[in-house]
Symmetry: C2
């Protein structure tokens, strides 16, 4: 969606940072644990062949076939797609593994990849490691005027953390099969290995139960996964080396269950599927035996459906109101010497944990499940933060991090990237550090639909994947952003829609007119971050479409970073060319409003956006004036200063639940004129 201005393309050439001119060695994401670059290259020819040695693997053969197709679609080299299974075949690329892994936490995922001018060797203990090596090789594909090639390298690689996950909330807005599948392909490309499916919520119950079909019949509005579809997802994930961990959120966030089972609620029903968003009261009644009889049957069924050893019970944000309001529950607490709702929830969790243990599952939950005295073999997923996480690890609990990785909040990739689950200053012993399994990016679905969900997950989640895979020392934000652009295009090739659906959404907003002006505006606009969007007056619910400016705008757009670089370049070295380029860029920003105003006559959906393009117009004008003062080494009048400051203040106010992202650099220009 990035639209280059002629000036910008020109500048790229002048400054020589045209994308991917050099080999892809320094484009890898995640960065491998160790890499030696050698001279020379392996030139990719139509005669390219692949053979597989060692262990039989149900995963590797289809993965190599997919890899050949992916190479072929990119290069158009038009080869056959067959992979030889042979211990001796002389092929350009040999893949060798010792064993086909069980798909379990902590399996060996290491691999080594050696590329010489005549030969590519990929070796791994397990097929899981080999799958990662295949993705590394595909990312290494390079091109220049001689054609396609792989640079010669020796890579020895393994992950820093064994749990590298993505949570997808399929409840607030349902995400159908194709969304899950294309995101599994995206995860595999950046070496993530856990898909955490958030399957029950106040707004919907999303998986078929044969024991309790009423859960989806009454609790899902018809949008849910059948058990066949769940098996299809698990198999699809397994072939890509990805575990599937299901979450059934209890005892709170439970409205959709209670629509069909009001008798298990802590307050009398009836209940209706929740359409709004937030924390709601409906909660299971922990004092009733029927509750545990129900979960005994339910979790026994789900434990069989989901093969992974871990099962997530949520446990977050139970506001306790229904418990406090129910005399029976109060009596129950006294009778059992449970002094508060935390202890009551611990009682509930322990009963649930017994059921899971009987079914061979380890229980995972959010911070709240960690209360005094609860068994050590639960796993804590921390949305609260690293202190809580460190404390739990010290106390011998396995933990993983999600705090700082809430990708639904539209924060910049840099913020997520620098969020380390195991910073040096955490003061954990070697042994305690082992308790930190890794973490998960969380795609909560209040404000996304299948149409734009990929734009919230990708490419930023690739930065999180790198944090979880690469050595702790890999922390350069600029380098991450540089590589993120290339990975984003590779991700699109797996079928992800984070780039192409935005263009479709722009065509709809402009009502079929040329999208260039709006696309240009979006180069400088972000959706409101954190939870600000809910405070702008629109009461969001599952009844609303998400097709407006903040739904198509993305966090930290590249154009803004590029413009910031230009301004910094100019400040460090104020050349006439710098002035010329900055003036052109500012001119492009300035012109957008006029174009959109004209288009809005035929596109009412643009009307609410015009105040934003107008702010940008005013800001850009002030920027050009400031640049002019700086360039001519003159000082502005007091009146101009006041105007400029007002313009800045205006520019900072949100419009249509979005905000200008380009303010910082223009502010720099303006303040430069005010300086001593």
């Amino acid at each position: 969606m990035r639209i280059f201005s002629a000036a910008f393309i020109l500048l790229c050439c002048l400054l020589g940072f045209a994308p991917s001119l050099q080999a892809q060695v320094d484009q890898l994401m995640p960065v491998p644990a160790s890499m030696e670059i050698q001279a020379g290259r392996f030139q990719l020819q139509p005669s390219f062949t692949v053979s597989l040695r060692g262990a039989d693997s149900p995963r590797l053969l289809p993965a190599l076939q997919r890899a050949l197709w992916r190479l072929d679609r990119r290069t158009g080299l038009r080869r056959g797609k067959s992979v030889q299974v042979s211990e001796s075949a002389k092929t350009s690329w040999v893949v060798k593994t010792q064993e086909s892994a069980k798909l379990e936490l902590g399996e060996d995922e290491s691999y080594s990849l050696q590329i010489t001018p005549g030969q590519i060797n990929l070796e791994a203990q397990t097929d899981l490691g080999a799958l990662h090596g295949v993705e590394t090789l595909l990312q290494l594909l390079s091109a220049d005027s001689t054609g396609w090639y792989f640079p010669c390298v020796t890579i020895k690689d393994q992950p820093r953390f064994p749990w590298r996950g993505l949570l997808i909330d399929v409840c607030r807005h349902f995400m159908p099969m194709e969304v899950i599948k294309r995101n599994l392909d995206g995860m595999a490309l950046v070496k993530m290995n856990v898909l955490h499916l958030h399957l029950s919520e106040d707004q919907g119950f999303r998986v078929e139960s044969k024991k309790f079909p009423e859960l989806t019949r009454l609790g899902s509005n018809g949008d849910y996964f059948t058990q066949d579809q769940i098996r299809e997802i698990i198999e699809y994930a397994n072939l890509r080396g990805i575990r599937v961990v299901p979450e059934f959120d209890i005892p709170g966030h439970a409205t959709s269950w209670l629509v069909s089972h009001p008798e298990l609620a802590s307050a009398p029903g009836p209940y209706q599927i929740e359409k709004g968003f937030g924390v709601f009261d409906p909660t299971f009644d922990p004092s009733k035996e029927e509750t545990y009889t129900f979960f005994q049957t339910f979790f026994t069924e789900m434990a069989a459906l989901f093969p992974d050893a871990y099962l997530h019970i949520g446990g977050d944000e139970n506001n306790g109101k229904q418990w406090d309001g129910n005399p029976k529950i109060q009596t129950f607490k006294k009778k059992n010497g449970l002094k508060d709702n935390h202890e009551l929830q611990r009682y509930f969790n322990e009963r649930i944990q017994k059921i899971l243990t009987q079914n061979g599952k380890r229980m995972v939950g959010w911070d709240e499940i960690l209360v005094e005295g609860i068994s050590k073999d639960i796993v804590i997923q921390s949305w609260r933060g690293k202190e809580a996480l460190a404390q739990a690890a010290k106390n011998g609990y396995q933990v993983m991090l999600s705090n700082g990785w809430y990708i639904d909040l539209c924060q910049p990739a840099s913020y997520h990237y620098l969020n380390d689950p195991l910073p040096a200053d955490l003061g954990l012993s070697e042994a305690e550090q082992k308790n930190v399994l890794g973490g998960e990016a969380t795609m909560w679905a209040e404000l996304v639909t299948p149409e734009n969900v990929d734009t919230r997950i990708w490419p930023r989640t690739a930065a999180i994947a790198e944090r979880l895979w690469s050595p702790a020392a890999v922390t350069s934000v600029n380098d991450m952003y540089r590589r993120l652009e290339g990975v984003s295009l590779r991700l699109e090739e797996t079928g992800l829609t984070h780039l192409k659906n935005r263009e479709m959404m722009l065509r709809r907003i402009t009502n079929g007119q040329e999208i260039y002006p709006l696309a240009s505006l979006l180069n400088y606009v972000e959706p409101l971050k954190i939870y600000q969007r809910h405070a702008q007056g629109i009461p969001y619910s599952t009844d609303l479409s998400l097709t407006r400016l903040p739904d198509v705008a993305i966090p930290d757009p590249k154009a803004v970073r590029d413009f910031n670089d230009l301004v910094d370049l100019y400040f460090t070295n104020p050349t006439p060319l710098g002035v010329k380029i900055l003036t052109r860029e500012l001119g492009n920003m300035e012109r957008i409003h006029t174009q959109l105003t004209w288009q809005a006559r035929q596109a009412p959906a643009l009307l609410e956006i015009l105040p934003m393009s107008e702010k940008l117009q005013n800001l850009a004008r002030k920027g050009m004036e400031a640049l002019n003062f700086i360039d001519h080494k003159t000082k502005p009048e007091a009146a101009w200063k006041q105007e400029a400051l007002n313009t800045l203040a205006e520019a900072k106010k949100p419009v249509a639940e979005s905000e200008l992202a380009v303010i910082l650099s223009i502010e720099k220009l303006i303040y430069r004129t005010l300086g001593p």
Copy 2:
């Protein structure tokens, strides 16, 4: 994908043909049978409500809910999405039907739609008619600076033909569920009512048989529809008023069956799934009783799976080689007095027809099944042409047309549009005309994948849909093209990828560089038409990727039609503005080659495309020179004329299985300078 040059946008404004400035009344596609436009408009407000009266319909309630979502996503008006079912509710939009139709050929599909400033009334005998009325209303949504509105109209509408189909070949390249579903939504939008699934071919057998699981296990490479998925497709289609007619192509085109059942072939096996394309020998043995025992079981199973009254047995392109080469079959022919292979195939078809009749199905087949004396209740689908079709109709056979609607051949929409199944000069009686049921666009899949298949089907198939629905008198090609652009954007809103996947494919070809130059080139390029592409040296097979220039280029690109209009405008009225605009447009064409040459250094996939951009560069230069001669009323030298003619000749030669589509108008300019 259409990229406007600044000059072109300017021109649009000057000439006032900016898209859809006026109400959408004249944007409807297909054009309704009768429409009266009244003054005034129904202004769309957030308070907009809908109620449903009359017959209970399993189709209409979900369709109206979808319609409200579609309105809402386009307008962002953020309303609730509930539809009232009430005989009396005072709502802005009232929908009334008499009956919920069976989904059968010839059901009443008529509807009447009245829009007044205060009220929208949609009435129909059946819910099928009402579904069409809903699509008409959605196409009528208009916008200007006052906001969103529906123009006041009275429409009485019904189809000209009862069989308005799209064939999708899911065999040569498999097309998964999401491709079928989004195309069903596209069909509904333009009022088509038959999805013809071509399910068996030499290259693959694509539907699960529980009786003969080996058909897909050995004959499909794993790509096929389970019976659950088929049921899902049928239900999805049924909810949109679309019948699903399955085709199992026999006795020829049979390789994939014979992989698992060589014993039923006319020549000894073993057989392997065919990877190439064309007409192949493998054919069922009509002289063996086992053949009919097999089909008795098979068609009994499929007749139960597919509820439609019609079942297609193909029957085309049996080359007879295996029959001639098999002595037993020769003896069988003599013994049964079958004097040639046509009679033998008739014998085979009659045996098959008995089986289908027992199962309550009417047999459909291609021209070849129509031989002397075969029963009248078969239906002929004509790929050969209108004479064959007329003859069959005269002889009392029901027929439908596909000749002229082979959308895989990349011919212009105008060609398909003017192809009338029932031209006045066919000389059929009233009664005989009734035998012409309509026709089908055919999406054969030799050269398409799920990635670009939508670009071959849409928007051109909307022109065919109009031919099958609208009165015969609706024949203006220019008006069709004008409306096609708007419909294309509406089609994209249903999830079709004909626009957005092209952009993705361009990003891949340019290896992540700015796609503007290549997109500009594609404004003037078409894939080779008819079967020429197979004659360019690449032996196509299912092993090849389809990601190159001819796979992303589309038939009759709009930019070419726009440029032709500009040249014609200039010839009728040679103004300085005309010269200025034409010079700019030619200048844009001229510049592309330089940009692509630079990009090709990082994108080997561009290398084979450069000769095309170079031809365009030379052609554009000659065009500019010609324009200059014309403008200055001077005559070129003989040498220039020769050069110009050579450039034209060069420009007409294909490059990378594609050709320049913009030659005609530049040729006009050049010839104008040569004229007397």
